[in-house]
C-alpha cells in the first residue's frame, strides 16, 4: 500500500467517523427540538425525517398562501368518503343540533362544545387552496373558530406536543404537532364560501390544516385530544394515515 492510498484511507476513515458522530448529534438535536415525525421508523424514516425536520425549521410560523375572493373555485370537488353511518344520519336528521366536539387529554378543563357554541367563538375566514395527495386542488373560503382558541379555552398543558383529532368515521383520525395546532390559520371550519360547510366537504365540522394536504383536514370532527405522546394512539404511528401506508406529515 503506497503512502498516498494510506493517507486516503485515513482521511476517508476520519470523514466517515465525523459523519457518524455528526449524525448522532443531529439525531439528538432533532429529537430535542421535535423534528422527528411519529412514523420515522421503517425504511422511509430517513426521508420522512429530513422532510419534516427541514420543513419545520423553514416553515414553523409561515402562513399558507391566501387568495382573493375571485379566485374561489366555482366547482370545487368533494372527494368520496366512506359511508357516514347511522349515528351521522341521526345527527343530520336533527340538523346537527346534537353534534358535540369533545376536547380532552392534557387540558386543564376538558370540555364538550356544540356547533352553536363553537359558532359563538371568534370566527375567521381564509381563502386557501386545498390539495389532494392525488394531485388535484381547489380554492375555497373556509370559516370557523381557530383551533388555538379552543385549546386556550380548555387550557392545553405546556408540555402538549400533539393534537389528535377524530372523525365520526371510526377509522379516520389524525394528529398534528403544536406548530400546526396553534397556527393562526388552523380552524375548526363550519362554513365554506359564505354558507354552511356542505356534508360532502366535511360539514358540519372539519379541522382545516391549511399547510398540509387534504387528508390531514379530517371531516366530521367529533373529538380533540391534547397529548405529549402519540405512541399510545392506534399503532403508535401518529395517525391512521401511516397505518394505511401514507405519511403522517403531509406538508409536501
Amino acid at each position: 500500500m503506497s503512502n498516498l492510498t494510506r493517507r486516503k484511507l485515513i482521511t476517508t476513515g476520519l470523514a466517515a467517523g465525523a459523519g457518524v458522530a455528526g449524525l448522532a448529534v443531529a439525531a439528538k438535536l432533532a429529537l430535542h427540538y421535535g423534528l422527528i415525525p411519529p412514523d420515522a421508523g421503517g425504511v422511509y424514516g430517513p426521508g420522512e425525517t429530513l422532510t419534516y425536520a427541514a420543513q419545520r425549521l423553514l416553515t414553523k410560523h409561515s402562513l399558507a398562501r391566501e387568495f382573493s375572493p375571485n379566485m374561489v373555485s366555482k366547482d370545487p370537488f368533494a372527494n368520496e368518503v366512506a359511508p357516514l353511518g347511522d349515528e351521522f344520519e341521526r345527527l343530520r336528521r336533527g340538523g346537527f343540533a346534537d353534534w358535540r366536539l369533545k376536547v380532552d387529554g392534557l387540558v386543564a378543563r376538558p370540555a364538550s362544545f356544540s356547533l352553536a357554541e363553537l359558532k359563538n367563538f371568534p370566527q375567521q375566514s381564509h381563502v386557501t387552496m386545498i390539495q389532494c395527495e392525488e394531485g388535484w386542488s381547489y380554492i375555497a373560503e373556509w370559516s370557523g373558530v381557530p383551533l388555538s382558541h379552543v385549546l386556550d379555552l380548555a387550557g392545553a398543558a405546556p408540555q402538549a406536543r400533539y393534537v389528535v383529532y377524530r372523525s365520526i368515521q371510526p377509522d379516520w383520525w389524525e394528529s398534528i404537532d403544536m406548530a400546526d395546532a396553534v397556527h393562526p390559520q388552523t380552524i375548526l371550519a363550519q362554513g365554506m364560501n359564505g354558507g354552511e360547510l356542505p356534508v360532502g366537504f366535511g360539514g358540519p365540522l372539519r379541522l382545516r390544516v391549511m399547510r398540509q394536504l387534504g387528508y390531514k383536514s379530517v371531516k366530521y370532527v367529533t373529538q380533540i385530544t391534547v397529548t405529549d405522546n402519540v405512541r399510545p394512539f392506534g399503532k403508535g404511528l401518529g395517525s391512521a394515515s401511516p397505518e394505511a401506508g401514507y405519511a403522517w406529515y403531509a406538508g409536501i
Binding site: 422511509y44 366547482d75 370537488f77 386542488s137 381547489y138
Partner: protein
C-alpha cells in the same frame, strides 16, 4: 494489441487521474483510468434515485392522470392535457371501466426519500466537481468547441451515428458536455424547484416559488414535462452508451477503467 501504444501517445487528452495509472504493465496496456471514484459512486446512486423517482412519480400520476394550468385543477375543471390511461381512483373520469390499485402511500414515501438522496448526492457531486476542476476540465466545453461550425459537425456526426473517435473514449464531446450541463444545471434544478412548488408547506414560507410559475397546478404540469425531458435524456444517454461500446463504457463507470478503443475497432 498492436498499435495501442501509438494510440496512447497520439491521444490529445491527458489522463484524468495520472496518479492512478496502473503499475501492472499488462493492465496499463489495455485499461486506463477514466472516471474518478466520486463520479462513479454519485453516478450510480443518482441513477437509482432517478429511477425510483420515475416509477413512484408515475404511480402518483396514475391517481390523477390529468394536467392543468394555473392555480387549481380537478375533475370539474377543464384539462390542459390528460394521459389516456386508467386511474387508481374511481372518481377520475378516464373512460376505462376499471380502477388500478392505489400505490400512492409507499410511492410518495419513496419519491421524497429518493429526492433527498438525489439532491444530497447531487450536491456532493456538484460541490466536489467545482472544487476539484471536474466541471472545468471534463464538462464545460472549450470555447473553440462551441463554434457554430463545430457544433453543426458534431450534430451531423451524431445524426449519422458515426462511431466516436478514439479520443472520445477519454473525453466527452461537445454535445455530450452541453447535454450533461443542461441536465445538471437546468433540468434537475427546475425539476426540484417545481417539485417543491407543489408542497403547500414549502410555499407557505416561499410563496414566490409557486407564484412565478403561474400556480400550483402549473408547477405540477411543469414537473411532469421536465420529467419527460429527463427521460428523453436518459434514453439518448443509454443509446449513445450502446453505440459507443456498451460494456467498455459501463465498465468505465463501474470500475473506473476503460480499455483502449483500438481493441474494439
Amino acid at each position: 494489441m498492436p498499435g495501442a501504444s501509438t494510440q496512447y501517445e497520439a491521444c490529445r487528452y491527458t489522463l484524468q487521474n495520472e496518479r492512478e495509472v496502473d503499475t501492472n504493465p499488462q493492465m496499463a496496456a489495455s485499461l486506463r483510468s477514466r472516471h474518478t471514484l466520486l463520479v462513479r459512486i454519485t453516478h450510480w446512486i443518482m441513477t437509482l434515485s432517478f429511477l425510483a423517482l420515475l416509477v413512484t412519480g408515475l404511480e402518483i400520476v396514475v391517481s390523477h392522470p390529468r394536467f392543468y394550468w394555473g392555480e387549481v385543477g380537478n375533475v370539474n375543471t377543464p384539462v390542459l392535457f390528460k394521459i389516456p390511461i386508467p386511474a387508481s381512483r374511481n372518481l377520475v373520469p378516464t373512460g376505462y371501466g376499471y380502477v388500478m390499485p392505489d400505490q400512492n402511500g409507499w410511492s410518495r414515501y419513496l419519491h421524497f426519500q429518493s429526492a433527498w438522496l438525489l439532491v444530497l448526492v447531487g450536491l456532493l457531486y456538484v460541490g466536489v466537481g467545482v472544487f476539484d476542476g471536474h466541471f472545468r476540465k471534463n464538462v464545460f466545453p472549450a470555447r473553440a468547441d462551441v463554434s457554430p461550425s463545430n457544433l453543426a459537425n458534431s450534430i451531423v456526426a451524431h445524426l449519422k451515428f458515426t462511431r466516436p473517435g478514439a479520443e472520445e473514449a477519454w473525453s466527452y464531446n461537445v454535445l455530450q458536455r452541453l447535454a450533461y450541463l443542461a441536465v445538471i444545471f437546468v433540468l434537475f434544478p427546475l425539476t426540484i424547484w417545481t417539485g417543491l412548488a407543489m408542497s403547500p408547506s414549502f410555499v407557505s414560507a416561499f410563496p414566490w416559488a409557486v407564484n412565478i410559475l403561474g400556480g400550483q397546478q402549473s408547477a405540477r404540469t411543469l414537473h411532469f414535462v421536465l420529467t419527460l425531458a429527463l427521460v428523453l435524456f436518459l434514453l439518448v444517454h443509454v443509446l449513445m452508451v450502446i453505440l459507443a461500446g456498451f460494456w467498455n463504457r459501463v465498465r468505465a463507470m463501474v470500475t473506473g477503467r476503460a480499455s483502449e478503443p483500438l481493441e474494439r475497432a
